[in-house]
Amino acid sequence: MDKFLQLLLSGVALGGIYALVALGFVVIYKASGAFNFAQGGFVTLGAYLVYQFGTDWGLPFWLALVLAMIAMAAVGMFLERLVIRPMVGKPTFTVVLITLGLLLIIEQVVRSVWTSPGLVLEVPWGNGRSQIGDVVLRHADLWTMVSGAVLLLAFFVFFRYSRTGLGMRATALDQEAAAAQGISVARSFAVSWAVAAAVAPVAGVMLVSRGGGALSPAIGFVALAAFPAMILGGLDSAGGAVLGGVLIGLAEIMSQGYLDISWLGSNVEVVVPYVLMVLVLLWRPEGLLGTRRVERV
């Protein structure tokens, strides 16, 4: 039972990281219908910025995090303006390929700017852990869950109640009809990129902190692990991103803890998220909480 609780906690925390990454994907998908591969790059760059502001320059951690979020929002808006806006009206596929290019470019930029190996990001909770009964609670996991919950709530309120959020949802459904209402399609896109990029440092910090604090330009590739989380939850649903993230995190950790299928080789847990994704999609093609296309017959 203790093993189960321990794995449950660990799985939910890992899922929280996937969810944080997936939220960034969802916000851009919701506004523009495009899948943004560069989100992984945002996560990497965001984590390095927190390192730069906090660990390197010595600013307080929370200030460094906020500064990184603001800086990333600016980066997101800049990239949107530079390479995505000119593609408005072009096939979504082209836009997606461009974001894939952005991912590779951002990763290279990170490699060139932060050249020294073995950089370590300092976080206030460090490697702290608390013992509750026989279960160990890592503080990094706790912060991951808290920040995931807070951001999800913020997303929910923003998309449900704000004019900008509603405008972004309308833009995603029908750009021309949205424009006809006076919704600025360009602004919807810019805001979605700013928001997606701004959550990236949070995801980056949690990811790095879970791994003990070591920075690596490759951390953005965890975005690929968030992929099944997001598709499983429903590409256009913030709630779905979190649910999908937690399910995938749990599946991964539980299979790591319990599954011993040696004839399949080691690291079966790496494949489990994708198996789960395929099964869910067979049952609900729009994902668990994704929007069902409404068609009246």
């Binding site: 459904l173 424009a179 006809a180 209402q181 919704i183 409404v294």
Partner: protein, 250 residues
């Protein structure tokens, strides 16, 4: 001939020409006037350029790779220049697009809120929402439904309600009767009359000429991108050409 009274017309279109892509010119010097407080009908066969004219008026041409290549549009006497769709809504234009184009996955209430994104004052939004629910009780009953599940007539009412959310001075409607049963078309026509009576100026594009001429004061006939006829609706109703071509008395 229309609106030569002292008041500035809400909308004046002078010599408007529109082209799609490199070479497809759809409007050739269109002149139209919509006097304040009137309902003006715009008739014409498929492909005459009616929808293109509305797109040009409301800043939606870029969505179709179209552009104005000549002439000008004046809203309350002031040229709109190259104003985009958002600016035009802020300046008092709203439209009901062809095919309704409601946001199917949003709720009825969210559709209405989307029509009010240019309105900052939340109290004002709540007030207008109340007025629209009072005018369209069916919508009020379904406020929490996803709009895609409404019937065709209800969707059209939602599209009209959504357009009215910005309290426009000029409401442009593109084929509101399209695909609706005669009884529903009648209800829609009644609503348009009520909108006009409440002080909103209306430009109504219709294939259903009988309905349009019955509820409008002035009418224009657009043919192959040019204004072929224009005048008081009563005169056009009695015109033998209009009767033959559009009213089915041939």
């Amino acid at each position: 001939m229309v609106g030569d009274g002292p008041a500035t017309p809400v909308l004046e279109v002078r010599g408007l020409s529109v082209r799609y892509g490199p070479a497809l010119t759809v409007l050739h010097g269109v002149d139209i006037e919509v006097p304040a407080g009137s309902v003006v009908a715009l008739l014409g066969p498929n492909g005459a350029g009616k929808t293109t004219l509305l797109r040009a008026l409301t800043g939606l041409l870029p969505f179709h790779h179209g552009r104005v290549i000549g002439g000008e549009v004046l809203l309350e006497g002031k040229p709109v220049g190259r104003a985009n769709a958002t600016t035009l809504v802020r300046r008092g234009m709203a439209q009901v697009m062809e095919g309704r184009r409601i946001f199917a996955e949003l709720t009825v209430e969210e559709n209405l809120r989307a029509g009010a994104v240019t309105v900052r004052d939340r109290r004002r939004v709540a007030e207008v929402t109340g007025e629209i629910f009072a005018a369209f009780p069916q919508l009020a009953h379904r406020r929490g439904y996803q709009a895609g599940y409404l019937s065709g007539g209800e969707q059209q009412m939602l599209a009209i309600g959504r357009a009215l959310m910005s309290s426009p001075k000029l409401l442009l409607l593109d084929e509101p009767s399209l695909g609706l049963a005669p009884r529903i078309t009648e209800q829609i026509a009644e609503r348009i009359v009520a909108v006009g009576a409440a002080g909103t100026t209306v430009l109504l594009v219709e294939q259903n000429a009988a309905m349009a001429l019955a509820i409008s004061e002035f009418a224009y006939v657009l043919q192959a991108g040019r204004v072929a006829m224009g005048g008081p609706a009563a005169v056009l109703r009695d015109d033998p050409d209009v009767q033959k071509l559009y009213l089915g008395d041939g």
